[in-house]
Amino acid sequence: MKHLTEYRDGQKARRLADEIARIVTRPWAIMEVCGGQTHSIIRNGIDQILPDEIEMIHGPGCPVCVTPLEVIDKALAIAARPEVIFCSFGDMLRVPGSTDDLFKVKGAGGDVRVVYSPLDAVNIARDNPDREVVFLAIGFETTAPANAMAVKLAKEQRISNFSALVSHVLVPPAIEAIMNAPGNRVGAFLAAGHVCCVTGYADSPPLCERYGVPIVVTGFEPLDLLEGIRRTVLQLERGEARVENAYPRVVAEQGNPAARAVIDEVFEVTDRAWRGIGVIPHSGWKLRDAYRDFDAEAKFAVSEIRTCESSLCRAGEVLKGAIKPNECEAFGKECTPRTPLGATMVSSEGACAAYYNYGRFVQLGERQTAGS
């Protein structure tokens, strides 16, 4: 398959891993920011073929995982209302709120629907003028253009029964938060290719300079990831801290101007709480005032949200790269994809789910000594 099998070639992957082993001379901790990359690394066992000196730290780039509990609880309250058709991307349905998840709301009679595109939710609103259609607009910069487009379209077409519960998050402030965190070990970043596809990477050089870290724009297939890691290690070994694009077949320096324009028209920057991490200044997008009529939070006065996070869950430390999922005491015991305590165990992009689903409880301890 064009653009797929050619980036999954086992022999080429081995050769890249061998080259990384040749150039590395000392331990390095590299964070892949995006949950999609975490998923691919664990699914393909890329960390198993890397030299011991390289430690991959799994970053907070899973939108499902970092959507704040308060937003999930609001979603559950809105979805339970009889007049509402609640539309969401599929993997948000199992994310635990304080007491329930969207699946349970659906089971109890709520009209909860999985959509593949936010534009589907706009169409549902058009087809059901007597119902309120709410779309759970979450995600990083990657999902923002389509979410923004849906809201813009609803406004243009005067579909007043459509609204969005927005909780967008942004990568660069998260990178800053990680670098500023006490005890940070991350020495370089693989930037998320699909985020950069939208935003480009023209804004990244200041980050490299300020924190002295290489940032390499990286894709998601095994060869993409290994090439990103190879370039990162080369920079680290040479003492460089530059932005590099290892995913040029998808990412341009300026990103996608049309996508950036629609985001800018509909959203503005806001402070945002990240589940398990806390509030990061200027790390989210919310709807601009001009689109307030389409803001589900304004439309449905959901008050009395009292969040209650599991006391066992250490997802925050996982998201910050402080611990590996299988170092959490609840991993695989109280917390499984069947009974998730935190969102990182729910989404297929969550680091805990990736570890569980690909059986990392078996190799527990094997690599924890690497590089330490």
């Binding site: 797929l4 890329i46 939108p63 699946f103 990657t142 695989g332 990392r360």
Partner: protein, 368 residues
Amino acid sequence: MGSTNRQPTDSPDGDPAPTAVEFTGLSCPVPLQDYPHVIMGHGGGGKLSSELVEHLFLPALGNDSLAALGDSTVVDVGGARLAVSTDSYVVQPLFFPGGSIGDLAVNGTVNDIAMSGARPLYLTAGFIVEEGFPIADLQRIAADMGAAARAAGVAIIAGDTKVVEKGHGDGCYVNTAGVGLVPPGVDIAPRRATAGDAVLLSGTLGDHGMAIMSVREGLEFEAVIRSDSAPLADMVAGLLAACPDVHVLRDPTRGGLAATLHEIATAAQVGIAIEDQRVPVDPTVQSACEILGLDPLHVANEGKLVCIAPQQHAAALLAVMQAHPAGASAAIIGQVVAEHPGMVVAKTALGTSRVITIPVGEQLPRIC
């Protein structure tokens, strides 16, 4: 009845559970309690479905035949061994590329019976039809069932129709039940998987599930994905002729190959090792799965079977599969191993390994 024959793992004098099973058990200390209502995942063929069966239905209905939890049950009746099975079909849309609810209802039950090694003989059919449903569509469904039954060599010998008020059903549901005759000497059951056995798969994975999902969600790909709905009874007869000592046959329907291999590994307390690169997946299906963030190993099939048999018969069995119209892309995908009992492990293209887990409930398309 009740707790005595419920779960082998509950037995205090049973074998100590290996790591993987104990692990699974820990994840579910108080099953069902946290779900006061049925959710879609209870019908998804994954962990939630198993819990419903094991903790709700078995305690109420339990007997040794049911507790075997096979696709079909084999019972002795006057010296003959009868394979019995039933299945309900609620697929939407009712008509889809490669099939319809009609041929699915016949093929599904025919295949469940065939997975005991039995020759399917007779089916019954029950229809629950919603008021207002077009007679022409019901005619099409019936015609498809008739054609599928003739193709599979079975007769539908009893039936029932109920009509429910508009809004109380989703067009048309079909239930079929069937019986077949197990030939003498044939003993096919998941518990028979033995270390050293070869694991064969009769063709590409995920065709049915992705065909349905594409139509249901209006997704269009380069080529139309067609369901693989097909009867497998004559393939099974061919396999048994080539090797009467086939150990296990299963059709990987809901939950996909992952769930099927898991059930076998758990039942036989063996490990199963497969190689990613040997598992056949149609390129269009693979693309569709990539777009939606689904794993073909978890997607449903309706015309494929897994065959586990002694290694020395693998080549002959593969030849039988490949000679069958539904088995052109059949492959030997791995083997049964003594290591990691209860677990399924895949070797990746990179030469690394990963554990294949059973899906929790429904497959959820990924956000991005």
